[in-house]
Amino acid sequence: MKTSSAKPSPKTVQKTINYVKRYWTLYLLLLLPVTYFIIFKYIPMTYIQIAFKKYSIVQSPWEMPWADNYGFEYFIKAFSNRDFLLALRNTIMLNFLDLLVGFPAPIILAILLNELPYKRFKRFTQTVAYMPHFLSWIIISGLAKQLFTPTSGLVNIVLDRLGFEPIPFLNDPVHWVWTYVFLGVWQSVGWNTIIYLAAITGINPELYEAAEIDGAGRFRKIWHVTLPGLRPTIITLLILSLGRILGSEFDRPYALSNNLVTEVSNVISTYVYAYGIKGLQFSLTTAVGIFQSVVCVIFLFAANALAKKFGERGIW
């Protein structure tokens, strides 16, 4: 790099002028997006300091006094708050169950769809299966209430007619957790097959032919050709899912929740909303937010490192 004091040769100057003449419009285009990222992504990061300070509505974050315990007062407060610990437990529990049930589901469905020989029926199945992805959680909660209400919901009417007891799908903590997980699978399983189906298309068809010549049946072909072909995709998506184990959706638990199940439905994002935006405890909830963000980054890096250790490619 040349310093400004060194005299640039006329050739370099001419080159720079040409470069600027040619590409200045590109910088002009980038101006707006970069401004957006600075204002809405980077300036909020300067507000992070209020997690370590005593929030005051009249001062800017830079002027607020430091919180007690070397600034960690609000982290200590969060971890001695029963509601936060419950939200933390619920976040991990719900995300773990999502991973356990929701992660394999699209892989199985993609393999099923790939085995389906009827082209038009396959296309129709896909179109229908993508539909729930386009519904908001508010709409899904509306559908769920109409299906699962103890006396008047469709499922319980059918159960009642068949002589079974009604099931309190959304009104009892244990049932709520499984309904939550099931609805998550319902909403995302079709959409998540897209990536796997694309990966299956990329598998060399000669491998299937070779397996067939060796006398492999349907299951052996799935096991020895399709699944190994999906392996890199599975690993990548697994790393990303593990990175989200402490991440929390807001709409889904918030929309499905009700007063009877708050002990399992309150997660970190709903906690931040209730204590921060509604309860105005900004320092406390910012501290919770940082904790969540930092843990997410750590998990993502750890999962990636682990994948690499086992000889996989990782996500970067």
């Binding site: 179109t127 009642d160 919770v288």
Partner: protein, 290 residues
């Protein structure tokens, strides 16, 4: 190719599972549709399963007659159109310059953008920023704060990378500048990615709930449809019914709620199937690593 009897049975079993999946996806929608079309008496007697009983359109009429609800639908359509246009412009002008490999400072800008994908300050700092910017409870808060998605930008950039460099080079030789090349070469070739990302942004705005709940809660006239719907479904707000019978009759409330759900759902269901071949391309591009 001759297939053995065994594989055919296997095919039928696979088809059967797919059929179950179709049922699982469609039955909830059919159930809600029937409820919205059924008479209140049939609903109270729990007679409505998959076909409407006592077919009538009363609840739809009541929902349409409620100015609060119809305005919310119109308002959501307005911010969806404006928001999608803004987002597409922002995404394009962010992705396009970053496809120039010899652009100075590209690595830095790239890092600046990608970093925000892995680490964000959280809800409260954004809330306090919007408060300081006096954007809370203003219409713009539903459009601006989330107008550019890094993920979508990467999808668009991947697509641009797939357009042959030789096209750009020959246009440069003809004296065309970057913006001209974008408009006359890149955009006309990018229908799939433009359709996909427009769909993603539009669905995101139409379905958007949490930003309205947190940033727009005090201004009912600017409530988008999902926030209004949430409050209707949870009995916080209700559809204004001219006669007093309204919500004292449980069956009617049920049927009206079903109708409000249908109104909020149908616009999306009408659009997405037509864009299927495009968004499959888009999602697949998103999984390509940089």
């Amino acid at each position: 190719m001759v297939k053995s009897k065994k594989t055919k049975i296997g095919d039928l079993i696979v088809a059967f599972f797919c059929f179950l999946l179709i049922l699982a996806c469609l039955l909830p929608m059919i159930n809600v549709l029937s409820r919205s079309l059924s008479s209140t008496d049939a609903l109270i007697r729990n007679e409505v399963l998959l076909l409407p009983k006592g077919l009538n359109f009363d609840s739809y009429k009541m929902v349409v007659d409620d100015p609060k609800y119809t305005w919310s639908l119109v308002w959501t359509a307005i911010i969806t159109v404006i928001g999608t246009c803004l987002s597409m412009i922002m995404t394009t002008i962010c992705a396009y310059p970053l496809t120039y490999d010899n652009l100075k400072g590209k690595r830095f800008i790239n890092a600046l953008i990608i970093f925000t994908m892995y680490f964000n300050a959280g809800t409260i700092p954004l809330y306090l920023l919007l408060k300081d910017l006096h954007l809370l409870n203003r219409p713009a808060v539903l459009v601006i704060p989330y107008c550019l998605s890094v993920f979508n930008m990467i999808i668009m950039r991947s697509f641009f990378y797939g357009i042959p460099e030789s096209l750009r080079e020959s246009a440069e030789i003809d004296g065309a500048g970057p913006i001209r090349i974008l408009i006359s070469i890149y955009l006309p070739l990018s229908t799939p990615v433009i359709a996909t990302l427009s769909l993603f942004y539009a669905v995101g705005r139409w379905n958007g709930f949490s930003d309205a709940l947190m940033f727009m809660n005090n201004k009912r006239e600017y409530w988008p449809i999902q926030l209004l719907l949430y409050n209707i479904l949870n009995n916080v707000t209700s559809i204004e019914v001219s006669t007093q019978e309204g919500f004292t009759k449980p069956g009617l409330a049920d049927s009206i709620k079903a109708a409000t759900v249908m109104f909020a759902t149908v616009p999306i269901l009408l659009v997405y199937p037509w864009l299927q071949k495009y968004f499959i391309v888009g999602v697949t591009l998103g999984s390509i690593k940089e």
